[in-house]
């Protein structure tokens, strides 16, 4: 009887101090709450993107915007590169799970090995993102601006992904376009074997003829400016999380090497770093959905 009574008081006073009502270590609880607040930040960004997208009559098709692959030139490969990025992040999440598990088993070598793989995955993802941003910003897309064709990239001020311009309008626009832009377009679409300098000397009519008879040459109107701002803001903020996650993982690796956790007797810190890393993967799942898939 007496024993049962003590058990009962033990169970009813969850919040009387001396133990964790959630049965989790304090730091981990706080990491969860931080991640929850971070989820609201990302959620707010993505929902505001959705609001602006819903308020437009036209929005660029992601398959048209994200169709490049490193080393593939002008090949049209929608979704290919972003799926590579997604798999990199999923795999690095798996290696992080294995690092946390090795920590549970107090297996120092295992923690080191899996942390290194996770860091490599994070760096690979960041490199992919750097390439993608570079490609979008420096890209040169034929866009109809003020009656003539200009070559612009995707920035926060300009968007080259509007609607396709119909054939007869393209011919009129080509008449107003600078020769050097025409020469560049002819060269880029491999419509002539001549060099840029030679094309510059060629009569304008010939260049226009070459371009307007090509089936690969398309001109688009400028698209919604907000697209670039949201894309760079949200993928940039996510990339910043990946970057800080990589830094945290590197610190965890150095601390493991320095036997800090071995001396403490537990690897709970790896668990908290792991939670952050999985969150980065979790956010990417939604960024991937909102920007690339729908």
């Amino acid at each position: 009887m007496a024993h049962e009574a003590t058990v009962n008081t033990h169970r009813t006073k969850w919040w009387s101090g001396g133990k964790s009502p959630f049965n989790i270590e304090y730091g981990k609880v706080m990491m969860w709450y931080f991640l929850m607040s971070d989820a609201f930040t990302f959620g707010a960004f993505l929902i505001s993107y959705g609001t602006i997208r819903f308020s437009h009559n036209y929005w660029p098709d992601p398959n048209v915007v994200f169709n490049a692959f490193p080393g593939a030139g002008h090949a049209n490969l929608p979704l290919a590169f972003v799926s590579v990025m997604t798999f990199i992040l999923i795999i690095s999440s798996v290696t992080m799970v294995l690092a946390v598990h090795a920590g549970h088993n107090r297996d120092k070598k295992g923690v080191e090995k899996w942390l290194i793989w996770t860091i490599i995955g994070g760096l690979a993802f960041l490199s992919c993102q750097a390439w993608e941003w570079h490609h979008l910003i420096t890209g040169e897309h034929a866009t109809l601006i003020d009656g003539k064709i200009e070559l612009i990239g995707q920035t926060t001020k300009r968007n080259p992904w509007g609607e396709l311009v119909a054939g007869q309008e393209v011919v009129a626009a080509l008449q107003n376009t600078d020769t050097h832009v025409l020469a560049k377009l002819v060269e880029e679409h491999h419509l002539s074997t001549q060099t840029h300098a030679e094309l510059m000397k060629a009569p304008k009519e010939q260049l226009i003829q070459l371009l307007s008879s090509s089936s690969d040459f398309h001109v688009r109107k400028p698209g919604p400016v907000a697209f670039g701002g949201f894309f760079y803001e949200i993928t940039g903020f996510h990339g910043f999380h990946v970057f800080s996650g990589v830094i945290i993982n590197i610190i965890m690796l150095l601390m493991t090497r320095a036997n800090v956790f071995e001396r403490k007797g537990h690897y709970l810190m790896i668990e908290k770093a792991g939670l952050y890393w999985h969150f980065v993967d979790l956010v990417w799942v939604f960024v991937f959905l909102c920007f690339y898939l729908i």
């Binding site: 049965n23 920590g103 690339y292």
Partner: protein
């Protein structure tokens, strides 16, 4: 069973946190099986999402598909994404292994998102409709034209 806690005999990771009395014990074998299963599920779901994305692309390439069907496909992709999020949070982040009260403190606030999404997306939509109604120039200059996209020119490929 004894409720007495003896720190000197505790070799668990939380020995430094005696207030934590509940431990998640996964033996190695079941752990690896679980991680492997989750990885495969995540990969398959991602591949299916990509295939649906490409299907939407192909449908638009070959003409004008019915908006309801496209909306349905996009809805499927959204549900698949939520499934992925569930697996990452429940298995990789071990939230599924925590006690129920803790899970609720995380999940219940996130339910606000249901309202956020409905409210803000319908706000954006309403703004679009109002603007199209009262600003005809805006509607004429920005509404997508029902032109026949490259379909007619494509076959040469």
């Amino acid at each position: 069973m004894s409720q007495h806690y003896d720190p000197t005999k505790d070799i668990s990771p939380s020995a430094a946190y005696p207030e934590v009395t509940f431990h998640q014990h996964h033996d190695d074998k079941s752990f690896y099986r679980r991680v492997k299963r989750t990885t495969i599920i995540l990969s398959i779901v991602t591949v299916v999402e990509l295939l649906i994305g490409l299907l939407i692309y192909k449908l638009f390439l070959n003409g004008t598909p019915s908006p309801a069907f496209i909306l349905f496909l996009k809805g499927v992709v959204c549900i698949l994404t939520l499934a992925k999020a569930y697996y990452i949070v429940a298995v990789f982040m071990h939230l599924g292994d925590e006690i129920r009260n803790f899970i609720l403190t995380i999940v219940v606030p996130l339910l606000l998102f249901i309202w956020f999404i409905i409210a803000f997306l319908s706000d954006g939509n309403s703004y679009k409709n109002l603007r199209n109604t009262y600003d005809k120039h805006h509607e004429e200059t920005t509404m997508p034209q029902p032109h026949t996209p490259p379909a007619a020119e494509q076959p040469q490929k």
